[in-house]
Symmetry: D2
Subunit: 342 residues, 4 copies
């Protein structure tokens, strides 16, 4: 019998990607689709790339509309998930693509988001140590941020194996869909095509504490993170360049071996052969993660470069992967393992 899924926030980029993936999932039947200002509109006008759902009409985001589903995906602005989840009850699998339940430390939450902490849910990045197990039995999933997905996967093997000093320096380039579908002047095509620019520099991006939390958990100690996100002239994709000073005695071979071991058996994460480097184009539309690691012996640093699609593995694909685990389905079921390139 099919799993019935609703999507709250179906008019945005995250919502659209969830729908694209759900349409290809063999065990899911798509139920209610909701929007806020777009309630009452045809989905075909909002997400013209999804013809099979073109005649669906968005309903308002209310618990009445969302009730009666097995799974509810929330692609809402921050701060809205707790109330919805509570109203839906414990039997429903709630998959929250927002930030509300990602951080464990209430003080950190309040520092970065300025509101009281709603709580912490199992974290939907199954590749992290212990995460897969926690997802098997939960009915609440906090989907990671797109940058934390890329950066945590890039650096956790180094920290788990004790190969890197606890001061990470990360510069990541993201496609513009990461900034959402709300019309803002600096996101106009005229502004972003042919141009790269940073934002949230100097530790101001809200994904910083989430990255630090993930790395500290595997390192067993506090890890500082200097994180600079940049906006790149492409619709999708994150390329994260992640470095940390190598600990004494680390060798290129040992580093590579640790990565191979930490990522062995992961269905979506691919450590590339030596000499080959990831590109975001190769993961577009897929749930794949491509990464490569190097030891810069002159600078004494571990350098890891990781490519993900911010909307797929970075949001909707990660959400479905975790859903599969929580529902006892095969983890890869229905998820794209090939990119759309060129």
């Amino acid at each position: 019998m099919a799993v019935r899924a609703a999507v709250a926030g179906a008019s945005g980029y995250a919502g659209g990607e969830i729908l694209r993936l759900l349409l290809a999932h063999p065990e899911v039947e798509i139920g209610a689709l909701t929007g806020n200002s777009n309630a009452g509109e045809r989905l075909g006008a909002l997400q013209p790339h999804l013809p099979p759902l073109a005649d669906r009409v968005l309903e308002p985001t209310t618990t009445d509309v969302l009730a009666g589903h097995d799974v509810v995906f929330l692609a809402l602005p921050h701060g809205h998930s707790a109330a919805v989840a509570e109203a839906l009850g414990d039997g429903v699998l709630v998959v929250d693509c927002g930030a509300d339940f990602r951080l464990r430390d209430a003080a950190q939450w309040t520092r970065w988001y300025g509101t009281p902490h709603a709580g912490t849910w199992p974290y939907g990045l199954p590749e992290l140590p212990g995460a897969r197990e926690a997802l098997r039995t939960t009915r609440r999933i906090a989907v990671p941020g797109c940058y934390p997905t890329a950066v945590s996967l890039a650096l956790f093997p180094a920290y788990a194996a004790g190969l890197a000093e606890p001061e990470a320096v990360v510069v990541a380039a993201s496609g513009t869909s990461g900034a959402g579908k709300a019309a803002k002047p600096h996101l106009l095509g005229s502004e972003v095509m042919g141009s790269m620019s940073p934002y949230g520099v100097g530790g101001a991006h809200r994904h910083t504490p989430e990255i630090a939390q993930n790395l500290a958990a595997v390192a067993g100690e506090k890890v500082t993170v200097s994180f600079t996100p940049t906006l790149a002239p492409m619709p999708r994709g994150i390329l994260a360049t992640c470095t940390a000073r190598a600990r004494e005695g680390v060798t290129a071979a040992g580093l590579r071996e640790s990565y191979a071991k930490a990522l062995a058996g992961e269905p979506f994460v691919h450590l590339l052969p030596e000499g080959q480097w990831p590109s975001t184009g190769a993961v577009a539309g897929s749930n794949n993660v491509l990464l490569q690691v190097a030891l810069d012996e002159d600078a004494g640093r571990v350098v890891v470069v990781c490519a993900v699609d911010n909307l797929t593995k970075g949001t909707a694909g990660g959400a479905l992967q975790s859903m599969n685990i929580a529902l006892g389905l095969p983890e890869e079921l229905g998820l794209p393992t090939t990119g759309v390139a060129p």
Copy 2:
């Protein structure tokens, strides 16, 4: 039991897209992959977006390698298909993505390609009148060119219904993958980003006679085609703007009704609701065709705009759609009906 398929020319863009789609096809098992100068290389180095096939090694394109499959896809330069097809024998389904067997008129072939005519195979555009039937029983399929796919679908309803004068004017913008993967200076990213340019102007593009042949077949008379292709700064997609003088008495409502009727029931072709226009972004990676039609009363012309993905519906998707028909499988089986957007 699975259909076993080989792909000749697996290192190029058409070959890569065929593989992407075959990987998602539930009834196909991927057999031999061949290349020419790339024989001996790992597919992972050539098509990094296809991790499930990364460790496959390209074999040389010989009939020995291609023998023993149920289906053989040919993504070869012009002039190579006839010999391969003959050697494979009549029992194998040969799907040719090249031009060799598209034209019916030997004189036209020789005028445009400069070599003797190899013959004519059933044409892999099932939406054209009579085409689907011819595909059901064939073991040879000539996959249409990417531009002829878009333009023929855009204009055949008007000509089939006798609504347009037999002088079509077409301007189409194509993504750069249509020009292939061979490294040429004018196709460098530095040259194409931020720039549009025409090529093959004044009737010089080899897709012109193919378009004219398709339109004449439905019109029942000769149709001249003024065709200007342009190169657009995007990797994929064709946007074809197709116009012809409206015949006396044509009305906007009648025009729309003819299109709705001609395209009714087509699984991949979508006449958009009035007021909505197609974009190539909405069909990226899908087998969909989005189109819209208008009557310009001041200019007295029918205007149809059509968006396809040149690599999917325009090449590999069209090829698999026709393969499904020839194998007696459901026509839509395994084909993507959603675009990867944004």
Copy 3:
């Protein structure tokens, strides 16, 4: 003594380009800069590419602020120019980049813009027959629309020489800056990158009557125009593909000769050598027009492809070129004759 120029609407794309060009003009001193919602802001925050003016502050668009200049450029929404021009008086050279004074036929104006006709000013496309002379003595200039600039330059030689039937078919691709700086969802980078889409199809774009007016003036008869504009994934540039049925007896050589003659001596318009085609990348940031003409003998049509930068020759450069003429300065003074490529 320097000419003192004010720019009304300095925060938009047209205004920014006017300022970029004025900064390089040896005879102009930049006076007041005005905005509407942006009044009070530093120009550096709005136009970060213009560091020499970064500390200028936008003033409100009032006649008090604009008074006391030799030249006033208006880059305002439609309908605002008449009142400003009247208040400034006859001695000031007013260069209007809006549509208000472009059309000669009051009925056409009202049909397309829905308001009473404000009048007609000399038309700032000096290359058209008679236009340069009219500009020499005027204190009012109507700068052409960006599409009419490209299309009129592409087709006037054919119509002036009686080589083409009076039914033009035009498909033009424009960079997104043509749609302005107001934040609208369909203009987001995420939407436009990797995608082409049409708009104003079927004769609905307001530049259609302006094109028709220009062509009729040289043809000496009514010319219908089927015009389809498309949005291309690039910030700047227009590539216009313009065709019309060739009149009896037209030859390729005769066509080319007519173009060479009609464009001889034009400082900014370049008929390319045979076999070379224009690209928008080659004219980016310049006042140049690149064009090529062909006779499609099979289809019986003249095909002209023309590339301009919509913001430079298509708006601000055209405006300064006309200003130079009206002020008795050398026509090319201060205008960029080289593109910024790649």
Copy 4:
């Protein structure tokens, strides 16, 4: 009397940009233009954005052709400059855009380039301490690499003021023109549009020792540099994100003050107002450098982001700026101080 300048390597991207700038320089007359495989071709076919030089024909790169000029720009592959410079004699100003004379340490040169060291010429980055003075009297200029231009300008104020630890971590995104005009598959538009990828990771890029040399000179001690260049989907521009651990006691205000002081009076380098971040789009086509600095107090790091146009300030503009100094002309003469945006 005009300075007569020749350009060796006029068919490439660096050569084209030198010509674009020379055309706008009031004191320079353009003499011989040379190419290698392109000798004998019209410049109009190779650099269609430069109509004023369209009819010039490339000559072979020989000392005979280059003799008799006041200035010779070399845009040649590595290893060719020494012989040309020697043949031209000491009276000619030779401006080398290649790497041959940038490094001071012969052992470093041989390690990175594998050939004997040709020598060291005054370094064409006038903003570095002492550099301007050395340029005033020289007849030999080594133009910096594009990445070293951006990174050195970003970090030298911090090292000059002793504010940062001598371990820099740099991640830079470059437009594709930085990779040159030779047709290579990974530089095709189809490959780079919509995609970001790293290269030369782990300290493998030849610009690393040049950056380290510049920073060490101002720091007065060895500075290690972890440098990761990435290829971005845009034709031009470098966005360099540069970080280093802050020394004890550094404050945000002190950091900013040091930058303001170090860059005061520089005609092309702009420290942006607080809260505003650079973009490559804003410097496109200009000789400007936009930068911003922040102190990340959580991570304890100085973060500087710097945008330049790799072809203008990063190559040709830097070359002309240094030429102006060496010729005793005003440093800014003829150089673009405004970007072409959007």
